[in-house]
């Protein structure tokens, strides 16, 4: 009995209800995934290796990038020219006395010329950069995606889909943003240098005084940036924490309602949301504090121009137009500095993202076609394991010296507790991995000597969990046999007994399956995956029977479908159900990576080994006995 049994009056048990008890915080309660994210870390701002790799991907766009850089130079030049033209207009026309109307017209002509050049260069610049960045994004993503199709399954097993997706999405965006902003950053840099040079050329005295505010701003930003960045980072972290908690509330709502966790979770979420709000407000304070500072500096720079420049004008040692030009330049002064310091964060992010992307691209492809690989032909459906030793981690073989042979057309059941190596053996037939020692032969050939493509057509696999893709029922059954007609698909569905329930779906074969076909029952999904294997029509079938228990009615249907699926094929079945096992021609019992028994049902029962023990103990499934080690040892002891 639970210690400290509480009174059965509702509200007494969970303090979330009573007002007085609300201060008692539950020790074990959390909301949201309790794993810190390491993906958000900033990298160095400049990583030569990443840049080099990145440049390689840019190579196809070399000419266009050069065009963009030229355009950026023109664009900046036109921006620099506008105040200069105003100056000329003032000094050469407006204040030069009579007869200068012609000059004004000429100057205006130049001005409109500059406007046109500005338009063209900006148009070129932005379209070229935008398009290259778009291409780059899809290039990188495709390269990664294509690579993931061929890297070893071991890597895929160890890597969460979510993590890969964040590389395929967030990280490529970071690089896209980097490319876009770098070209504009070049523009900013040129603009800054341009403004400074123009000012110096216009008037050295005034320029050097005005430019004195620049270092002040740079120092202010240098002090500000690290603090602000921490605040921004923290704000982002709290946002992702809040989102994770929200995701939990969406996906786990059934459990939350069933277990009455609403109150506790809401309190916890409130804390997180308040944290998030406060972190964002803090970040906002940091972002806004710079506004008056920059305005103060701009004001000072303008004041310097007014006082010093004004005096120089009064002394007639400076033309009034120059002073006006100065005033215009000063107002644009800080823009490039601002965007350049944003550029720094973008670069840091891009380097970290690049590292992660190229890491994926560098994952070894362990299983490749040999240059002289041959195409398997359909004639032979035999499978042979010859002294196969294999494992995932060095010195920890999962299969030890396993040998067996399956004749063409034979059905063999693989039986054994969890971790005995059944699934690995199946994976080797399909050459998901390469063996350490020995060889796996399919259709008389070592699997390493045939093309993976032809092996894939030769061996059909049905996995334990029926996996369906978003798409219609028809597309799911047909899958990659795009030549298969509606007739073939319907035939396959009929053969496995799926046709009737498909026709009962709202749009029959055209019904869209979404979210892993959650609307279908497990049994129905199983039947669809059988139909898919039937359409694939391979001489060898490898089937991992689903462990999940379905009701007896569905079970019966699946058994019938299975019988139809195995017809006329060589079949290796990882069996969990006694019916399936008894229906096999031969049974192989695996334990700890070794074959301990082999033979037809009758023989094994007669021999009185592990198989007969398990069979007699009425095991629902041969799979879950891994946990009950004590039981196995009892069996072994007898």
């Amino acid at each position: 009995m639970n210690p400290g049994r509480k009174p059965r009056v509702a509200g007494g048990a969970a303090p979330a209800v009573g007002g007085a008890a609300a201060s008692r915080k539950p020790g074990l309660a959390v909301v949201g995934a309790q794993v810190s994210r390491d993906e958000e870390l900033f990298g160095r701002a400049f990583d030569r290796w990443v840049i080099a790799r990145f440049l390689a991907h840019l190579a196809p766009y070399r000419a266009r990038i050069a065009l963009a850089v030229i355009a950026v130079l023109f664009f900046v030049a036109t921006q620099l020219m506008v105040p200069l033209i105003i100056r000329r207009a003032i000094d050469d026309a407006l204040t030069a006395g009579d007869g200068t109307r012609v000059i004004l017209v000429v100057i205006m002509g130049v001005f409109f010329g500059v406007v046109v050049v500005n338009y063209v260069s900006m148009f070129l610049l932005e379209s070229v950069v935008g398009r290259i960045a778009g291409h780059l994004l899809f290039d990188l993503r495709r390269a990664m995606y294509a690579h993931l199709q061929v890297v070893s399954l071991g890597f895929m097993d160890q890597t969460e889909v979510g993590r890969l997706m964040s590389r395929l999405q967030g990280d490529v965006y970071a690089l896209q943003e980097f490319l876009e902003s770098s070209i504009f950053a070049i523009g900013d840099l040129v603009l800054l240098v341009g403004i400074i040079s123009v000012l110096l050329v216009l008037d050295v005295r005034l320029a050097s005084l005005t430019l004195a505010v620049l270092p002040v701003l740079i120092v202010v930003r240098m002090v500000w940036l690290p603090m602000a960045r921490r605040a921004f980072l923290h704000a982002r972290e709290t946002s992702s924490a809040v989102n994770a908690a929200l995701a939990e509330n969406v996906h786990g709502i059934r459990a939350i309602q069933e277990l009455g966790r609403e109150g506790v979770n809401l309190d916890l979420f409130e804390e997180m949301a308040a944290d998030n709000r406060n972190a964002h407000l803090r970040a906002s304070r940091f972002a806004n504090i710079l506004i008056p500072v920059v305005d103060l500096l701009t004001g000072c720079a303008m004041a310097i121009v007014v006082i010093i420049g004004g005096r120089l004008v009064l002394d007639s040692s400076l033309e009034i137009g120059v002073m006006v030009a100065f005033l215009f330049y000063v107002q644009r002064f800080f823009d490039p500095i601002r965007s350049l310091s944003i550029q720094y964060s973008i670069m840091q992010r891009a380097m970290a993202a690049g590292q992660r992307i190229f890491e994926v691209l560098d994952v070894d492809v362990e299983v490749r076609d040999r240059r002289d690989a041959i195409e398997l032909d359909r004639s032979n459906g035999a499978v042979e394991f010859a002294d196969v030793t294999f494992g995932y981690v060095e010195d920890q073989p999962v299969l030890k010296d396993v040998s067996f042979r399956v004749k063409d057309g034979e059905t063999v059941a693989l039986v054994g507790p969890t971790g005995s190596g059944k699934t690995s053996a199946m994976a080797l037939i399909h050459r998901f991995y390469d063996v350490w020692e020995g060889s796996v032969r399919v259709g008389g050939h070592d699997v390493r000597h045939v093309t993976q493509e032809s092996l894939g057509r030769h061996v059909a696999m049905v996995l334990q969990d029926p996996y369906l893709f978003t798409g219609t029922v028809f597309e799911n059954i047909r899958y990659n046999r795009i030549g298969a007609s509606r007739h073939v698909v319907a035939e396959a569905a009929r053969a496995v007994g799926a046709h009737d329930f498909i026709m009962n779906l709202p749009k029959g074969y055209e019904t869209l399956l979404d979210q892993g076909a959650a609307t279908l029952s497990l049994g129905e999904r199983q039947l669809l995956s059988f139909a898919r294997a039937l359409v694939a029509d391979a001489p060898i079938l490898v089937l991992d029977e689903a462990t999940a228990n379905v009701d007896s009615y569905t079970e019966l249907k699946i058994q019938q479908a299975l019988a139809r699926l195995l017809e006329g094929r060589t079949a290796l079945v990882i069996a969990h159900r006694l019916t399936t096992i008894r229906g096999a021609d031969r049974i192989i019992v695996l334990q700890d990576g070794c074959i301990i028994e082999e033979g037809p049902h009758g023989d094994l029962m007669a021999s009185g080994g592990l198989y007969s023990m398990l069979y007699r103990m009425n095991y629902a499934s041969f799979d879950d006995i891994g946990d009950t080690g004590d039981l196995i040892s009892t069996v072994e002891g007898t």
Partner: protein, 634 residues
């Protein structure tokens, strides 16, 4: 409604923020909600915008401060060009032809000081404006987030079943963000921009009518262009997002089902699928860039051209002596100041459109009334004995279009220490009974009572605390095993947690894990086998001290021997509780005091195991089927 203090504090906000603002959308009950949001994203819904704005103005003082700051910042910003112009005139000595150079110098000094002062003041007020805007935005974001979170908690499961989880996440992240951004920067920016344009117009027109009109002429042109372009860009963006989400789905499913992909050697097929969608997405992305570039370059062109005209006409006028050089400089400087905010008009239009569609979608959910809720004046359930009764219960799922009842005329009683077994073919309504006990749906006719009290007359929270449902497929939270076991009672002590785990035959397994009970499970944790997950579900279900426990096929993946031991361990625990076991495997029900056999929602056979066998009916047939091995029994 659920009665926790946290919920109550939100209730208050709900009342102030949500209820009184229900102007247009009106309330709907969640069962009427079809899970689709037919919101026209290109149409701006004034009702929604009004409601958002009203929410913002609940933060009266912050908004007032923000508006005053925006007005003041605009006011001071208007002075900058004036002072610049004045400085030019002073320097040129036009205004002081009679005065000495000394006086001109002093005037310059004054102007310079005024420039610094106005700049600083502008900066300070702009800072206050931005900060207040963001504060209000964040406060509203927080309120909406809490309201949304809470709303998801109280909406009925039948609603959750029908709505795509991705939709709900989008709503909770992007839509709240869309609303927040409009409040954050949109409203106050409108104030600032209006101040600048109106104030500037007055100032410029006073200098010279023609010049003033020329200098301001670009504002409406660019405003119209920017708005049109933004809306087009938004459409392009939505289309691109649509395509990209397709791409995401393809990639995600490919990687999630990589074993299927490899098993069918279909890398080529998958890459073709990817390429087709990627090509479409790239084309859309190019289109979007083209739209953007076209509008932004045109706007720059128009601005510069207008500047040229002002310079030209102003130059002529200055030469003719109609205006001073300083006044011309003032016009030009003013144009430079106005350029950025005018370009942002497009951005603002976009954020209005976005806030309208995001807010619409959000309010759609927030305005839903849960179909199952506490009745007025409902008190907590007080369990004296723990006797559960179904009295002529009829039930049909709200969404079912067919006029078919899921359950008809269900009658049974199960008291503490007793066990009721429920069997029947798939779809016969077995699980529905469990759902009705926890009042996840309301019955259509008849009633369900606990100790004679109709469960609709007590609070949901107290009822559900007394009803534990052990589902077939438990949701694992990404957290430690201990946290998962104690999910329904986070105050549980270590001993209680271990005791529950031991009852579910999971303790030995957990103990052997390197990190024991703190081992992480769930999405990012260790993967548990189907049987282990079910046993965790059982441990979780038996931990809270509830009066009724419903095992919904929760031992299906557990092997027979372990199931026997679980059953044995449960014996103690269930002495004082009413137990309902829903099962496929008849062997799990051998010890039940009563078994009901359901078919199409009706009880067709009932009795204990032996009685049912002698009936020679459906139960008998199923038993024989399972005994023959069809159901993994021998």
């Amino acid at each position: 409604m659920s009665g926790s203090p946290g919920a109550r504090s939100i209730d208050v906000q709900e009342n102030t923020y949500m209820t009184s603002d229900r102007t247009r959308t009106g309330r709907r009950i969640d069962i009427e909600f079809d899970g689709r949001y037919n919101i026209d994203v290109s149409r701006v819904d004034a009702g929604v915008l009004w409601r958002i704005t009203a929410m913002a103005f609940r933060n009266r003082w912050r908004m007032a401060l923000g508006i005053v700051a925006a007005l003041t910042a605009g006011f001071f910003q208007l002075f900058v060009p004036q002072f610049l112009g004045r400085a030019v005139d002073e320097a040129q000595g036009l205004l002081g032809t009679e005065t000495s150079r000394e006086l001109a110098g002093e005037a310059l000094l004054t102007t310079a000081m005024l420039l610094i002062a106005t700049s600083v003041l502008r900066g300070l007020f702009a800072m206050v404006q931005n900060y207040q805007g963001e504060s209000v935005g964040q406060i509203i974001g927080y309120d909406l987030r809490m309201a949304y979170y809470r709303q998801l908690q109280i909406l009925s499961l039948s609603w959750h079943d029908r709505v795509h989880s991705g939709e709900l996440m989008t709503r909770g992240i992007l839509d709240i963000e869309g609303v927040r951004l409009w409040v954050d920067t949109g409203i106050l920016r409108c104030v600032l921009l209006s101040t600048l344009v109106v104030g500037g117009a007055i100032l410029l027109v006073r200098i010279d009518l023609v010049l003033g009109l020329l200098a301001l002429g670009f504002v409406p042109v660019i405003a119209v262009m920017a708005s049109g372009a933004r809306l087009r860009l938004r459409d392009a963006w939505l289309a691109l997002q649509e395509e990209l989400s397709q791409l995401t789905k393809v990639m995600e499913e490919n990687l999630g089902g990589i074993r299927v992909v490899r098993a069918f050697a279909s890398a080529t097929y998958e890459l073709t699928r990817y390429d087709t969608i990627a090509a479409r997405a790239l084309a859309l992305s190019h289109r979007r860039i083209a739209l953007f570039v076209r509008s932004s370059t045109r706007m720059t062109f128009i601005f510069l051209a207008a500047m040229g005209l002002v310079l030209w006409v102003g130059g002529e006028k200055a030469m003719a002596g109609e205006i001073t050089l300083g006044q011309l400089a003032e016009c030009l400087a003013f144009m430079a100041i106005l350029q950025m905010p005018v370009r942002q008009i497009g951005w603002m239009i976009n954020s209005v459109a976005r806030a309208s569609s995001c807010g619409g979608r959000l309010f759609n959910v927030l305005d839903l009334e849960p179909s199952v809720a506490d009745q007025q004046g409902a008190g907590p359930l007080e369990v004296r004995e723990g006797l559960l009764r179904f009295e002529q219960v009829d039930f049909a799922y709200p969404a079912s279009t067919r006029d078919k009842r899921t359950l008809s005329n269900i009658d049974f009683e199960v008291g503490p220490g007793r066990t009721l077994g429920i069997v029947g073919p798939p779809g016969s309504g077995k699980s529905t009974i469990g759902q009705l006990v926890g009042r996840y749906y309301d019955v259509m006719a008849g009633r369900i009572t606990i100790d004679g009290v109709d469960i609709r007359s007590v609070t949901l929270a107290s009822l559900r605390r007394q009803v534990s449902i052990v589902p077939q497929q438990p949701f694992l939270f990404t957290a430690g095993i201990d946290h998962n076991v104690a999910y329904g009672d986070p105050w549980a002590g270590r001993a209680a947690i271990e005791h529950s785990a031991a009852t579910a035959q999971l303790h030995n397994y957990i103990r052997k894990l390197p990190t024991g009970y703190s081992t992480l499970v769930g999405e990012r944790g260790v993967s548990l086998s189907g049987g282990q997950r079910q046993r965790l579900s059982i441990a979780r279900g038996v931990l809270p001290d509830s009066a009724v426990i419903v095992f919904d096929d929760s031992t299906a993946a557990v092997d027979a021997a372990t199931e026997q031991r679980i059953h044995h361990a449960l014996h103690d625990l269930t002495r004082e509780r009413a137990v309902i076991i829903i099962a496929h495997r008849l062997r799990s029900l051998l010890h039940a005091d009563e078994i009901i056999f359901l078919e199409e929602g009706r009880i067709v056979e009932r009795g204990c195991h032996e009685e049912l066998l002698t009936l020679n009916g459906r139960y008998r047939a199923l038993w024989d089927l399972q005994a023959s091995g069809g159901g993994a029994q021998s």
